[in-house]
């Protein structure tokens, strides 16, 4: 027994030493023999970290974010970079796993010494990272829409967490207002993934808005990550006889719901969140129509069309919505570094808090210092009409104006 314990201790010690040695080497290698003055700089590059799912269930999005970000970085670098230096993305795979993401964030801070981290578009991970940023003090700017990723329970913001698009409750309110006030649909059913923080935090404010504005929730059905056949839930919803169904989940789940609702002969409007972009249209029955969903961009915009074309020629697939997030995230981060005037996480953090009117594809982004979320970003209402996306209008509910 004693022998084993001492052997283990020896092993731990050896590993520890090896680890330290490795770190030093890594740092020396990265700084190209110039003394490392400030964090975030390696040679002629300013390093921006990135945490995206590259190989698991939300990898389609993660890759979109990275590709979009790279397009922004290439553009900025070709125009001379920021503060006389070029930008470089250091991306780690989170595998859509909270623990992987935390380890990767620590690695970005401790070893790569990045100045800022572009965060994942998944709320579960954003929420888990928030308390850790308080110790590591390197800001994260990302698209985790759940409010809990940017503000604490008492309403004050997490100091180092920033959101780049309207939050869950803002988006859910836009959907709810459009359904009740504009489409005049009052009896609503909801079908959502209970295991997903993102979906859950859409449902709560949506319900609140509908019930506060003369509507009624007639059925609320849930499913889990592993459920692929939702016909039992949909049959229950059908029997509740609603005017519309609100379906705010991740893309593939939304596609399954649309197809299976069609199979069951449910022909009422479906109201969606902002996870109905490509490739959803290719996954659903071509006869499906009357699906209204939110989007951060519109295809009627010439600039957006140009971006989609460039993306396709570069990466040989249709850009997901998240490519625009990646692009806009880098624009904001670059602007913050420029404003800070130096490559220092603390200075960039202060600059991020006061970002004003950065013109991106998803709108003019201004960060509210009180919530660390964007202010007054309206969204597009889009419709799926027999195998096609149609942009309807830019919408902000009266309450958010």
């Amino acid at each position: 027994m004693r022998k084993i314990v001492s052997l283990m201790l020896l092993l731990v010690l050896a590993l520890g030493l090896a680890g330290c040695g490795g770190n030093q080497n890594a740092n020396q290698g990265k700084s190209n023999n110039t003394p490392a003055q400030t964090g975030g700089v390696a040679g002629d590059y300013i390093l921006i970290g990135s945490l995206q799912d590259i190989s698991s269930s939300t990898a389609a999005w993660g890759k979109g974010v990275v590709n979009g970000a790279q397009m922004a970085i290439d553009k900025i670098n070709s125009e001379g970079g920021v503060l006389g230096k070029k930008l470089k993305l250091v991306n780690y795979d989170t595998k859509n796993d909270v623990n992987e993401a935390i380890n990767a964030y620590n690695r970005l801070v401790n070893q790569d010494k990045v100045v800022t981290v572009m965060g994942p578009p998944t709320s579960n991970i954003g929420i888990a990272l928030a308390p850790i940023t308080e110790q590591k003090k390197v800001p994260i700017f990302g698209d985790f829409m759940d409010e809990r990723a940017t503000t604490k329970n008492d309403g004050t913001p997490w100091k180092y967490m920033f959101l780049g698009e309207p939050s869950c409750s803002q988006q859910a309110e836009i959907s709810a207002s459009y359904t009740v006030d504009k489409l005049q649909l009052k009896k609503i059913a909801i079908l959502y993934n209970q295991a997903n923080a993102y979906a859950v935090s859409h449902v709560i404010p949506f319900t609140r808005y509908v019930e506060g504005h003369g509507g009624q929730i007639v059925a609320k059905e849930i499913f889990q990550n592993t459920d692929k056949d939702l016909k039992a839930q949909l049959t229950k919803i059908k029997n509740a006889n609603p005017d519309a169904i609100y379906v705010p989940n991740y893309l593939q789940e939304n596609a399954l719901v649309l197809n299976q609702a069609k199979q069951l002969g449910i022909n009422i409007p479906i109201i969606g969140n902002n996870s109905y972009f490509y490739p959803l249209i290719d996954l659903i029955d071509k006869s499906i129509t009357d699906v209204y969903f939110l989007n951060n961009v519109t295809f009627d915009d010439q600039e957006v069309k140009k971006f989609l074309g460039e993306y396709k020629s570069k990466f040989n697939e249709d850009a997901p919505l998240h490519a625009f997030f990646g692009y806009d995230n880098i624009l904001v981060i670059a602007e913050a570094i420029k404003k800070a005037g130096k490559v220092d996480p603390e200075a960039v953090r202060s600059a991020l808090e006061n970002i004003k009117d950065v013109k991106g594809y998803t709108g003019n982004i201004s960060i509210d210092p009180a919530t660390h979320r964007p202010l007054g970003l309206s969204m597009w209402i889009m419709k799926i009409d027999k195998g096609k996306y149609v942009s309807l209008e830019k919408y902000l509910p009266p309450a958010q104006k």
Binding site: S57, Q233, Q263, G265, L283, I284
Partner: protein
């Protein structure tokens, strides 16, 4: 009534998975989770056939089934044969099968990415309507095919000399070897048939639930169905699959999806504790 149809159509999906799964259990007495990997790879192979060559559903199914069978034979050669030759303990098979399953899933993720795909133009959404009730054609087809496969398999196992060999081998692999049977050949064939069914399941899963690298994880449902029905029993696997489908749908419509999975796993545990031989009641023997 619609819920009963829903239960049967879910059961049909599980039945197809469960039979392929039970077949290997029948002879080697371990739960072959690499079956999930075979389903994933086949689903992508079928998608490749359907989208590049625009083959009809039946041709796609047939070719993919052959491909799945081949995959399973290769997996047996690579992952299980050495363990069998050295008389390794059951746990090695189990670990090896899970590893292969994950390996295939990750290979697909690397080479095909993890965007979602949909099978092109295979009429996945057509339904038969009877009054207020709708029956998805794809689920009916699955039901018919898994039923046919089961009948053919039962006939083969009960009536042909190959079947007798399989039964002998499933009783005791080593003794049959001593009796001069070529057990390796028989086991390869069993894996081929199992993979054949895995290929068919893969295509159907891809059509019904869109294509993504984790699609093979549905194998867990096949496993639960096998436990309920009786591990290693083919009729039991089908029976278990339909019971699982019905119970799931019933629970979702009464207690909701959240609790339903809890109940399903409790049910599985209860079966493992009090009736490990499952409903069909084949006595499961551990490999000596």
């Amino acid at each position: 009534m619609q819920q009963v149809i829903n239960g049967i159509s879910v059961g049909a999906v599980y039945a197809l998975i469960a039979v392929g799964f039970a077949l290997v259990y029948n002879i080697l007495k371990f739960s072959n989770f690499s079956h999930g990997g075979v389903m994933t790879v086949s689903a992508y192979f079928g998608y490749f056939l359907a989208s590049t060559f625009h083959l009809s559903l039946l041709v796609t199914l047939a070719l993919t089934a052959l491909f799945g069978g081949l995959c399973a034979v290769i997996i047996e050669l690579v992952a299980f044969r050495r363990i069998r030759n050295s008389n390794g303990p059951l746990i090695y098979y189990f670990v090896s099968s899970i590893t292969v399953g994950m390996l295939l899933e990750n290979i697909i993720t690397i080479f095909k990415g993890s965007t979602f795909y949909a099978y092109p133009g295979l009429a996945s959404n057509t339904v038969v309507r009877m009054g207020s009730i709708t029956i998805p054609v794809m689920n009916m087809l699955m039901l018919v095919i898994s039923g046919m496969m089961l009948l053919v398999l039962m006939w083969v196992i009960m009536k042909t000399s190959f079947g007798i060999a399989v039964r002998a081998a499933s009783f005791d692999v080593n003794t049959s070897k001593l009796m001069g049977m070529n057990t390796s050949q028989i086991i390869s064939l069993v894996f081929f048939v199992s993979g054949f069914l895995g290929g068919i399941s893969g295509v159907f899963l891809g059509i019904s639930y869109t294509l993504y690298p984790q699609i093979g994880q549905m194998v867990v449902k096949g496993w639960i169905a096998s436990v309920l029905g009786g591990l290693g029993s083919l009729e039991g696997a089908v029976l278990g699959a339909f019971i699982l489908g019905m119970v799931e749908v019933y629970l979702v419509s009464t207690v909701g999806a959240g609790l339903s999975s809890v109940f399903i796993f409790i049910l599985t545990l209860v079966f493992l504790m009090f009736r490990p031989q499952g409903i069909a009641g084949n006595v499961v023997r551990d490999k000596a």
